[in-house]
Amino acid sequence: MILRRGHRVTTQSVSFQFDGREYTAQAGDTVASALLAHGVRLFGRSVKYRRPRGVFAAGPEEPNALLTVGTQPCVIPNVSAPQLAVTPQLITRSQNRWPSLRVDLHAVLQAGGGFFGAGFYYKTFMWPSWRTYETMIRHLAGLGEAPGAADIAPPHVEHLSCDVLVGGAGAAGLAAALAAARAGARVVVCEREPQAGGELDFETATIDEQSATEWVRASLAELARAGARVLYHTAIVGGSDGLVIAHAEPGGIAKNNTVYRIRPQKFVMAMGAVERGIAFANNDRPGVMLLGAAERYLARYGVAVGKVLVLFGNHDRLYASAMRLHAAGMRVRAIVDTRCDVSAAIFGLRATLTGMGVECMSGHAVAEVHGVYGIRRTRIMPLQATGTERFIECDALLVSGGWTPMLQAALHDGGQREFAAKVSEFVASVQPEWRTAVGACAGTFELGAILTESFRAAAQFAHSIGAMGVVGRAPVGRGDTAPQLQAFWRSPCTRAHEKTQFVDLQNDVTVADLRLALSEGFVDIEHIKRYTTLGIGTEQGRTGGLLGAAIVAELKGEALSRVGVSRTRPPYQPMTLGSLAGLNQGDALRVTRRTPLHAWNQAHGAVFEPAEYWLRTRYYRANGTDAFTAGIQEATRVRTHGGILDGSTLGKIEVAGADAAAFLDRLYLTKASTMKVGRSKYMVNLREDGMVLDDGIVLRLAPNRFLATTGSGHAEHMLSHFEHYRALEWSHRQVALTNLTEAWAVIVVAGPKSRATLMNVLGEPWHARLSGLTHMEFSESCWQEQALRVLRASFSGELAFELHCQHGIAVPLWEALVAAGLPPYGLEALDILRVEKGYLVASEMNGEATPQDLGMDGLVNLGNECVGRALLGRPAFVEPQRPRLVGLRARDGKSVIQGGAQITLTAADTHSLGHVSSSVYSPALAQWIALAFVARDRAATGTVLVARDLLRGTDVDVVVTSPVHVDPSSERMKV
């Protein structure tokens, strides 16, 4: 194998597979360069017409050569071959063809070229129903196949801030980076290629009396010494509000990605310009390629894209390129220049080329390409009336219609673009003060001007943020002369031929499609884009967007500046959904919190359910085959015998300080300051609009120390609520707030046997305390030399105790209680017990209920001046139709009452009086019971109403009762 030499390849060989065949490449090759070196010309088939296609470009603007990497189920589809680095054992395959690339049975669709024009699916495949055709169309549509399994790890995510961010490490980017670094700014450079240099890789240039390559190397070394950070394989993909997002895909494939979230003080956009083609008949054939692509394949990989070349374009760079390609051994047969007059700048070059046997034609255009799997010859036509057509044989046609500045990053955060007639391009206009475009990105194409402009802009940015170091003078360079471009978008042709003049290669959009869209009334470029699918592929109109807009302008007879180009949106290069999600995926998406007793519960058959971020035990498998059966079993056992519950998720906030008591008085419906030390009280918080926010037991641990408990999963919200009012009204007082939710484990011990078992387990030192402990009183001491607090309080209606301890003794204490005869119960059982007693949870304290709605009139009438009090007296809150909390039972004593059912007067009624907020089967009463909200004027005990479940279509007669269904005088708790 002859070793190729180029900027990116080394002598080391590496082999890979394409469509089942092994190929040998050199380290540094991309799949495109390696296959081109082997003479492969067919890389895929187009999306709609299945036309054979080859490589068109040498970057992410590649529309044709998209490959599938890997094998199912872990494939990665639509990978751009010019970006895909060859790695050992890489498996690639072409897309959109069956059974093979060469022989594609679906290419018969080409025969129906007229039938499948733009928007055909809106007008065809309708009778008898589009579903008849759906399967077939789905099978034929699209490019690559989706992977069957997730194989890609989440990306790394890095947050960066810097003084000056430079997008691009070509001539403009490097000049800007040097200026900023010399001024002393912290610089980050993002370069989407594996190496810096951009067009300096092939342009014949000298900078500061060195070759371009040497200058690039020296500049990178200087940047490294200055501590500037250059990120390779990293493309700017989006951003907003001053944040710039870059995405690194080393090797051009979606593995080991990094997402950079960058906050620059200043951003210099030097991302260059993308070359575009010209539309002519059959301009999509394998062998038609962008001129700059051929230069890149030669300079970077040592690959000759053809043996006999024809160059076609509308600017002076054709000639410099021709010299370079010819010198590398490719035979340039002809240069077809659409401009009629030859500019003085290239007189000499043209003469030299003619002397070398290159035919230089002016005022001519390529009309058509012949050949299906490769070019055989081109048909050249004169652009003026005089002259005849010619045929020139070649195997590669290199086309260049100009360069479109890469403006995506210049268009957000209020950035705009405008049409610069001088260069026939859209360039960045108004920009936020922290961002500027330089170089080809700004419409400057001549190297000397690029270096000066970029250097000065970056120096000015650096100085403006205080980096005042001496930058010296800008690099002085000379490269290819200015292009002197004259706009030319498509070769003249017949209407029939317009069907093969491709504008967007990736989406098979032709000039005929643009004409069709216009004739059907789609005149706005945004509508044309969507109707024809112009520019909607992976390359997002890089090669075809402006071309299409310009052709539309010609067809409409309107100026291009008026037609405009369609809006681009991030990401500017394809990203996987995984990269977009960043770290917010898998377990990291939503934190799962487990209590200290989680492992024990899991090992003993607990079935968990999420409660906010916590996992709580719903029931234990040993007690029943499902939640319903197990819940009843566990609840029954608590009432007859006893049980323990893991209550560690209970929110706990310590409120301490000289003003703690007064602070709590302000934040709760009733006063905390009247509590004695060693006692606790059931307390309710109101929201500022008067609605009940939360409830919980507040303990007075010391004169200046309270423990406020909140609903499980509500602790952070309540903490923010307390902190807000502390800042708003108490900033000069002494109140310390600490979230102790995770510091203390909580074990609830409930049931007739609770006290005796607890005394047994805690031992002698606790006997006197426990037997003397009154309702709502607590005691603090130790167990196994660790702090333990026992509070006598109940949420089940049974005699019960809450044990607060730290993690060290949580499991031993729990196990000791189980061993002593108290089995655990879960939330399902807890819900049964608390509904039987009319105790409230979030279903009742739902943010729409006032304290009076919930039966707390007594607490309200104590008159404590608290947050929310001021808005409690609103007229709507005492209206007769306003729902309030009641209990419900099925009238027949056995029907199921459905949670969420609407309450009405009769089964035919659709006017809702309220709804069922909680419903359970009560083992104590052997029937279904519920808590519900019912209009005050219908809520008298004994009223018969209907609970209508409109979803399941059932209606149940219900009777209004007190919300306290079981043990109304709470005798069981007072034992």
């Binding site: 509000d241 209020g414 500022e688 903490l719 902190e723 807000h724 009204e729 808005l871």
Partner: protein, 83 residues
């Protein structure tokens, strides 16, 4: 038009990314009655005074004065100490 970078300068922690903070609500007019404090606001496009909390940092409550049209932040005070 100049959109400005969205950072807030917490009095304790310094300039931090916006996503460390949680917006609570627009501040009521000073001296407003309780109903107006809870429900009524004057929406101006040039200035907005707001309550934010530095939830992923020091949890301080902040009084932020900013321009809702451009995003420019005029002033950040600890809530309760604002002028």
């Amino acid at each position: 038009m100049n959109a400005v970078m969205m950072r807030l300068t917490c009095p304790f922690c310094g300039a931090r990314e916006l996503n460390e903070f949680q917006f609570h609500k627009t501040a009521p007019e000073p001296g407003a009655n309780p109903f107006a404090s809870v429900y009524e606001r004057v929406n101006r496009t040039d200035i907005s005074q707001e309550y934010w909390q530095h939830v992923q940092g020091c949890r301080a409550w902040l009084y932020v004065s900013r321009n809702p049209s451009t995003g420019e932040v005029y002033q950040v005070n600890l809530l309760g100490t604002q002028p």
